[in-house]
Structures are given as structure tokens and as C-alpha cells.
Symmetry: C2
Subunit: 584 residues, 2 copies
């Protein structure tokens, strides 16, 4: 090794030892014949000292020429510092250097390698390898490492087998967002990269593997948003001979294990909520439960009093913001403008302030008496000092709008603490979802999700009402994982494909192998997949999954560091039997 110790290792105990360290020059100070160098590596920072009197001239000159980010190897004796730095673990000692070697010089980096940097996002992406040198960035990847190890430790202890499923699989017309890979050996044919290992993990259950998991890259070629990446990582799991309850308790166990062992947080029982309740009370299938502020429906109380907007609405629904009655008129106007922004799209907002004196002042006093408003307040459980905010309109739309408003109020009132974690199972998702564009039903989760047995008769009469054995794990308003109990017999799977608009031939061509597998003794099974990038972000207290990926791509799916994707040689295209066709 080019070092005897790391830069985070030496303490007073090591005093008088001869050591060799290697690392990067973080800072050089030169004062009154003394030169101090902060030497940095992944493990910490150690101070080197060069003294004019006792060091050789050549050594001093070498030290004086060191620049930021030079890579050096320094040998010398550990000595006690006269002025200690108790902010770093090595702050009690320094190295009196007797030998210095520059292992590699460094150009001045394009941005400052410190926790606070002057580099913009684009520059830091281009020089990602320098951005990764910053402690705050590297620590995010260290968290990710720890999450991976702890995940595997738990899964292994629970007898899950880690199995690698193929990356080169088969494209399906359903997979409109598949990345494809031309095969040189099989001209004109293509592999696809998996959007998830779904069918393979189900086959492993048919194989009797009983419990499977994998931390696995998945791929989706879609227009990218800030929190999406074309390649992303899942904790992918499947279990045989289970019911929904078994999956929920097993993965509640994983969640608790991770919080305890990675964050030192003892999680309370994970709450449960049906999809229907989540929509009714939070307007959203991933409610943030760090704060209450439940939806309260006011149709019975607010309609029929002559206020046309409410009277003509399908739903009148509001939230009560505790202690927000002190909002000024200006703040309330801003809030009204906020809900009217195109992203939210409300036509307007009604509010009612429950004043400290017990009176209620609303924007619709013309239509409602104090008694009416007091009845609202009772319904909200509002107390003096609270602010009631009410929207109305079409049920689906108004719930979505109020959900956004609720989150904003939570944010504004400081109720969304990054150090508080409120996990929640949302259960009983609908099996199917109507798509206005294609005028047909789509599988809300995926076509392999089983309907609740008691709802199967509804498949023909009221498909939208059929509930699935499907569940999501939500933490702090973010969907972290989702899964279902699967269909495990051919007849039900065929029925499902039929309801999803597949012809028998299409279903056979694409998923024939899976349906055939179901005929050879498939056990009841189910599973779940967690978005690992997002899970890391939640643990790290960040909104951006990109921070938790070593080499992320930008919003156009480009890696600007290596300049990819890029054109390829004609010779290579010819070998692959394809042509580029830029005409649309």
C-alpha cells in the first residue's frame, strides 16, 4: 500500500508513530515559515505540517508548490497539535512531514470541491467524477451502499434467494417504452431491456424457488421528468404460498430493518388505508401522513343554500389548517391565486377563518349564516384559530386540487419534517383504470395482478369497480413500492387479457410461455418491487433521486460526462442489420 493509515484514522494514541498517508490536497496555508496542508481521502482529513527550521529546504519548496486536488503521499511523525480542531476526529494530531511525493498533479478544478460548491448543475454533471469527491455527494452513495447491504442481509435472513434475471429479454407491443437491442447473431431481431423482471420472478415461483429477491436495474424509454431516469434500480421480490397479509408483514419488516439499521430510527406500526379512503380523505393514493389535515366533505351542509358554485358541484370538500386563521388577506389571496394556477386548475377557493373570538369569517358570508359556518367548523373539528379551505367541482378533479393544496399547506405550516417518517400501506387498489385516450381499460398495476375473488363477477358488469389484491408502500407522500398477489391460473390470466383488449392470439404470442407455465403446477404467489433510488432519497432526506445515482443521466437521457448516447459507425450498423432513419 502507498499508505500506512487513511486520512481519517490517526488519533492522539498514534503520537510519535512514523506513518505514511496518501490523498488529495484540500487546502494549503503558508504562514510565518510554516506550511499546513489538509490532506483528504474518503475517510477524513489529516493536517500535515512543514516547518521551516526543521524541514529540508527542498521539502518545503515542494510543499509550497502543492495545489488544490494534487494527489500526494506524505510520510512523517504523528505529533500532538498545539491548537486542536475538535470539529474533525483527527483534529488532535498532525503529521510532521519528513518525506513528500507528488503522485499526480491536478489542474485547477472547474468548481470548488467543498460541501458548498460554486459549480452549477450542468458543470457538476459534466465533471461528475469531481462532484463525487465532495463529501456531501459521496455520503449519499455511501448511504446507498449501506441500504443495499442491509436489504440483502434482511432478505437473506428471511430465506429469500437472490437470483439474477436476464437483461436481454423480449419486447412486447405492450412495452411501448421498451429499450430494444438489435441482435447481430440473429439479424432483424431484437432483445428488449426489462421494465421489470415481472414474468421471470413469477416463473421462479412456478419453479418452486419460494422466495426470490434481486436488487436490479430496470429500464424505461420515456420522456423524462426530474425524478425519472431511463435506468433505475428496484428491490424486486416475490413469494409463493402467501396471501396479501404475508407480503405486507414481510416487507413492513424490511422497512423497519432498514430504518433501524441505516437511520437508527425505530419505526412505529405501518398504518393501512384502502385506496378508496386515501382518495376520499387525502385526494391521492399516496397520502403524506406526517400531518393530518384530512378532507372533509361538505355537500350536505353547504349545498342548497343558494351558493350556485357549491350547489352545482359534484363534491364540496375542504381541509382545516390548524392555527392558520392568522393568515393575512394578502396570504389568502396568494393562496387563492396558487390554486388557480394552471398546474392546479381550481376555479376558485372558499375559505372560512375561525377567529379567536369564536366568530367565523368566510368568503361566502352572503350565503351562509354563522350557524351554517359553525356546522362546517364542527364537521371539520375546527377550533378558534383554524382556517378552513374549501374547493368544489367534479369529484376526481377537486380531490386532486385539494390534495395539492393540502400538501402546500403542510409545507407552509412546517408539518413536513424530513426527519419524521410515516409509512403507510395503501391497499385495495382498483384492478382496472379507464383510459380516455384509448377508450379502454388498462391494468392499474399490471396484467398479472389478481382481482379480489368476491369482485370477479363485476368484471363484466362494472369493470372499474373491481378491486385488486394490490398494495403500495407510501412513505411521507412518496410511493416507495408496489405489488400484488398475482394470478396463478391460466383461465383467470386469459380472462384478464381479454378484459384488457388483447386478442387470444396476441395474448398467446406475448405471454404464452407464462400461461403455459401456469398449467404445470403454479403456486399462489405475490410480490412487491421497491424503487430503490427513491427509497435512498427518502432515507437521505432529498427530493432528487439523481443525487443517489453515481452517474445519472440528465432530463434528455444523456450522460453529459461521457457524451452518450452518440452516433455509431456505419460499419457497426451494417453488422447489426439496421439503418438509421431520421425521416418521421
Amino acid at each position: 500500500m502507498l499508505r500506512t493509515h487513511t486520512c481519517g484514522e490517526l488519533r492522539l494514541d498514534h503520537t510519535d508513530q512514523e506513518v505514511t498517508l496518501a490523498g488529495w490536497v484540500q487546502r494549503v496555508r503558508n504562514k510565518g515559515g510554516l506550511i499546513w496542508v489538509d490532506l483528504r481521502d474518503r475517510y477524513g482529513i489529516t493536517q500535515l505540517i512543514f516547518e521551516e527550521e526543521s524541514s529540508e529546504k527542498e521539502l518545503l519548496e515542494k510543499a509550497a508548490e502543492l495545489g488544490r486536488e494534487f494527489v500526494v503521499q506524505a510520510s512523517g511523525k504523528v505529533i500532538e497539535r498545539t491548537s486542536k480542531n475538535d470539529k474533525i476526529p483527527t483534529g488532535s494530531i498532525e503529521i510532521k512531514v519528513s518525506k513528500l511525493e507528488v503522485l499526480n498533479a491536478a489542474k485547477v478544478p472547474p468548481f470548488i470541491i467543498e460541501d458548498e460548491t460554486d459549480g452549477g448543475e450542468e458543470l457538476r454533471m459534466k465533471y461528475r467524477y469531481l462532484d463525487l469527491r465532495r463529501n456531501v455527494v459521496r455520503e449519499k452513495l455511501q448511504l446507498r451502499h449501506k441500504m443495499m447491504q442491509e436489504t440483502r442481509k434482511y432478505m437473506d435472513a428471511q430465506h429469500f434467494m437472490e437470483v439474477e434475471t436476464p437483461v436481454l429479454i423480449k419486447s412486447t407491443p405492450e412495452g411501448a417504452r421498451d429499450f430494444v437491442v438489435p441482435s447481430r447473431v440473429n439479424p432483424g431481431e431484437f432483445y428488449a431491456l426489462p421494465q421489470s423482471p415481472q414474468t421471470f420472478k413469477q416463473l421462479l415461483m412456478v419453479s418452486g424457488f419460494d422466495r426470490y429477491f434481486q436488487i436490479v436495474k430496470c429500464f424505461r424509454d420515456e420522456d423524462l421528468r426530474a425524478d425519472r431516469q431511463p435506468e433505475f434500480t428496484q428491490i424486486d421480490c416475490e413469494m409463493a404460498f402467501v396471501e396479501q397479509e404475508d407480503i405486507l408483514s414481510t416487507f413492513e419488516g424490511l422497512t423497519k430493518h432498514l430504518f433501524a439499521n441505516v437511520k437508527g430510527v425505530e419505526l412505529e406500526e405501518v398504518q393501512r388505508m384502502t385506496f378508496a379512503d386515501a382518495m376520499k380523505y387525502y385526494g391521492n393514493d399516496k397520502p403524506d401522513l406526517r400531518f393530518d389535515m384530512k378532507f372533509v366533505e361538505l355537500n350536505a351542509l353547504a349545498q342548497g343554500k343558494g351558493f350556485g358554485i357549491f350547489d352545482s358541484a359534484e363534491l364540496v370538500v375542504g381541509i382545516c389548517a390548524k392555527g392558520a386563521a392568522e393568515y393575512t388577506r394578502k396570504q389568502l389571496d396568494a393562496l387563492t391565486e396558487w390554486v388557480k394556477r394552471p398546474q392546479i386548475g381550481a376555479k376558485g377557493m372558499v375559505y372560512a377563518k375561525f377567529n379567536e373570538d369564536g366568530t367565523i369569517k368566510s368568503t361566502v358570508d352572503k350565503f351562509y349564516t354563522q350557524e351554517d359556518l359553525q356546522a362546517w367548523a364542527n364537521e371539520f373539528g375546527a377550533e378558534p384559530g383554524d382556517l378552513m379551505l374549501i374547493l368544489s367541482g367534479d369529484t376526481a378533479t377537486v380531490r386532486k386540487q385539494l390534495s395539492e393544496l393540502r400538501l402546500k399547506m403542510g409545507e407552509d405550516l412546517g408539518l413536513r419534517d424530513r426527519n419524521v417518517f410515516k409509512p403507510l400501506w395503501v391497499v385495495d387498489f382498483p384492478l382496472l383504470e379507464w383510459d380516455e385516450e384509448t377508450k379502454r381499460y388498462h391494468a392499474m398495476h399490471h396484467p398479472f395482478t389478481s382481482p379480489k375473488t368476491e369482485d370477479i363477477p363485476l368484471l363484466d358488469s362494472d369493470p372499474g369497480a373491481v378491486r385488486a389484491n394490490a398494495y403500495d408502500l407510501v412513505i411521507n407522500g412518496v410511493e416507495i413500492g408496489g405489488g400484488s398477489i398475482r394470478i396463478h391460473d391460466r383461465a383467470t390470466q386469459q380472462l384478464m387479457f381479454k378484459h384488457l383488449g388483447f386478442t387470444e392470439e396476441e395474448a398467446q404470442k406475448q405471454f404464452g410461455f407464462l400461461m403455459e407455465a401456469f398449467e404445470y403446477g403454479a403456486p399462489p404467489h405475490g410480490g412487491i418491487a421497491f424503487g430503490f433510488d427513491r427509497l435512498c432519497a427518502i432515507f437521505g432526506g432529498s427530493d432528487s433521486i439523481r443525487d443517489y445515482i453515481a452517474f445519472p443521466k440528465n432530463n434528455s437521457g444523456r450522460d453529459v460526462m461521457i457524451d452518450s448516447p452518440s452516433t455509431i459507425a456505419d460499419e457497426q450498423l451494417k453488422e447489426l442489420s439496421i439503418l438509421v432513419n431520421l425521416k418521421k
Copy 2:
């Protein structure tokens, strides 16, 4: 859960407990009013019993109708068996079933699901999910699981950070065997799948990650041989501030850890050998050291005695097969025919039997006296009872031929025991390799490998003689891993690209980001990658890596189970801005 216990769990201790098991019907026996069912899951087999007298008629009928591979749930009482089966851990008990539910019926499987099956390779590949049900097959994947967990345990304890590098990277003209992926968002441009995460792991060293590892899928689009797969898995590692010795000792540690914890084998010190010695003494850069049979060069003793074939040869070299003097004439003729096969290509073979009576009988007695032959025997260290086998010709060719012959003799004499493990570091590989076809030098390892400092002056005068800081781990004649100390400065890297025939522009276009990274403070670093599939095969005592891959592809790169690769829709091609062009 649909069960209270697994099928491998119950013992005499559980007698009289009411239990519920679930699994697959392995076998049904029906005799004298009794029905026995062997119920199987991943964990074992448990015997169910149905008695005519005490069971309800309906239950008995249900049991009688069970077929092989039916999936059932059975509840009943654990009872002691009258005739115990001490071959299985549950053999002392059986379940007197009171309730039976068929969870799923099964068609008769296309081959027998037992350790010995009647299914051919192709059929088993098509129904891989059934083949995986066989214990002998599933156990291979269980070994792989264990290898993965133990690898990570060791690496984590050694402070290696597991970092996921991108799968969608950049194609380079060097990467003639890259799989490419058209980008929908960036029309006309392509990603490539990594043949290895080489440049990313080097960048992580520039980032100061210090120690990196990953168990990672890599991809190579090449004509497939029996032991190659288009997607394969590597244990990929890199360390900063190290010299070759540090890498060898760290990964000798990993190797020992795996053997101790997965196989229960305490490995002795890993031997070391230079590439030059490996070639000289074993004709091969991956010698199988489970047996000795070193090459002995005979030029000095065998030339100039009038035997033209030897006299005109560049190299006369042989091996001594201990105790093989008893080979019959017929066996020796067969051996001669074997080396003359086109795959080996020797023109002929000379042998000399050291008889028990002390005489030596050779095929070239016409040219050599007993004294001459005795001198050979001395050189070989041969004793009465041994057989000397000698080939001659061009050095490179004859070494290759004799290497094959040595392995065959080792096999024939039973010296290649699958339960003996002889790991070896081969070091000091040549940096460059002359390619007759392209008439230029190629990097033997890859272009990022550093030359030995003392050999750099030879780069211009005698490039083929330059040795690299490169090493391979070989176990039992199989290359398991390889790596090198890398170049970490721009000037040397540019020099290397020049010697490999890159123009400055090409080098800049393809690896500019890496060379630029070297200018911002790159530490000395090096690493290694292990072929994980092959490592598993070695541990499992198998020659085929395919057995250790859950869903392997065949020799044409096809997954015959899911029928991939396949054609894709014109609509999809259009979206991706490509056309299929089958004209060559």
C-alpha cells in the same frame, strides 16, 4: 401464509402437532387402502398419509386423483412413521391428513422432475422453469446466492463501496462486440451496453471512492461458444493507492473467504507464477496445478543425434506421466492419433517408456542410445514405470499442443479431482499482443493497463517484450479473474493509445473524458474482475457456466423459453428512428 411449516422442517419433536403444508406432489403411492403422497418444496420432502379407515371417503378420493406436480395444501397431524426413511431429514414423521386442497392442477410435465431426468437439453431449456424445479438444478442457483452474499460480506468488511455503474453507456469503435441501444429521445443516437464498467470504476477512483466493487452484468455480442453467454456477471473491483501486491493479497483473501465459507475448504497459500514460466512449464497462461507434469525442454539432449524431426525443430519438449509406462501399444497409438487430430495438430509424438526393469523403450531407438534416453529420463526426473511423451516443432505451437496433451494425461490418470482446488496468480503478462490479422499490436488486457516502469523504454524498440502490471487468478486451469494496475496519468495513457494505433483524435473522442479526469488529481489505482458465472461453476464442480445461470441463452444467443430475440413492430422501429436492413 398458506402453510404453518415448510416441507423440510418437521421432525419427531413435532409429533401430534396440527400443521399445514403446501407444495408439489412428487409421488403418489396407493396400496392396500392407504395412500402416501410425497409433498415437495424448496426446503425438502414430507410424506403425507391418507388411511381408508380413518379418513373421509371424499378426502381419499381427492388424494387418489392427485397427479405429479399438482400444487396442494394439506392439513393434519404429525405422526411418527412406522417405517422410517433415514435418507431424508423429515423421514421419521408423516402427516396424517385431515384436509386437502388442490391449489392448482398440473399437466403431465414434458420431462421427469427428478435429479435424474429424461429431458434433453433443448426441452429443458424451453421449460427452464420446470428444469429449475429439480433439486440438482436449484441447488446450483442456491450456491450462486451464497457466493453473492459471501462476496459482499467480505468486500463490505474490507471497506469496499458497492456502486452501481450505468448500463446505458457509450459505444466505441474499439467495442466491435458492443450491444447497442437506439435512443428514442435522441434520434439517430445509440447507447451501448458495457462489456465491463472499466472506465467508470477508474473514474470512481479519481473521485476518491478508494475501494469500489459491484456484482454486475456485462454484455458481449460475439459468436457464442459453449461457455460464453451474451450477458454474464462479473465481480468487479477497484482500489486506489495500491500496488500489485495489495490487490493480490486482498483478492487472495476474497478467494479464501469464499472457499472457507461456501465450500468449507481451507485453501493453502495461492501460488504465483510469471506468464513466461507458465508458458515455459505448462504451455499455457492458465496452468492446472492439481497435478505437476511440468514441461521439460530437451533440445540440448535430443538434437544433433541424427533424428531430423527433432533436429529441425525450434523446440523439443515433453512431459513425464508418472506410472503410465504400463500403457499398452494400443493406448499409445490412440494417444498419438489424439495429438494428430486437427484440433491439436501435432505431426506426431515420440514416447519413451521407462520399464520397471530399468530399460527405456522409445519410438526413436534408432537414433538414441540407452544412455541418451537415460539422460532424458534424468532430465524428466523419471523413474521406472513412467512414460515420457515428447513433441517438437515451432515453440508457440508445440507448447500449445503439449499443454493439451498434459491436460488429457492428467484427466486420463485421474489427477484432476473436482474436489481439489489449486489457485494460482499468473503475473507479469505481456502488455501487448501482436495480431497477425490486423498486423498491429493489441492490448493483451486492455488499453488502461500500465506497463512495468522498467520496461517502458522497450515500447518503441521491442513492444512485444514490454511486461504489464497485469495478473490473472487461475483455479484448476480455469481463468477466474484478471486485472491490472492502471495508467493514471494522461501522458502515459496517450502514449499507450498511440502504440495501439489510435490517432490522437480517435483517442480524444472515445476516451477524452477519462484522460481529462487524469488531469484533475488521479490516484495510482488498480483492480480486478472475476467471472462470476465461471467462479460459481468451479465451486459447483461443473464445466458449464450455463448451469449456474437461472435463465441462460443458447449457443445462438436465444432464450428459447420466451422466444427472444424477436422481431418488433414497424411502429416501434419508426419511433426509434431505425429500419431493419437485411441486405448484406
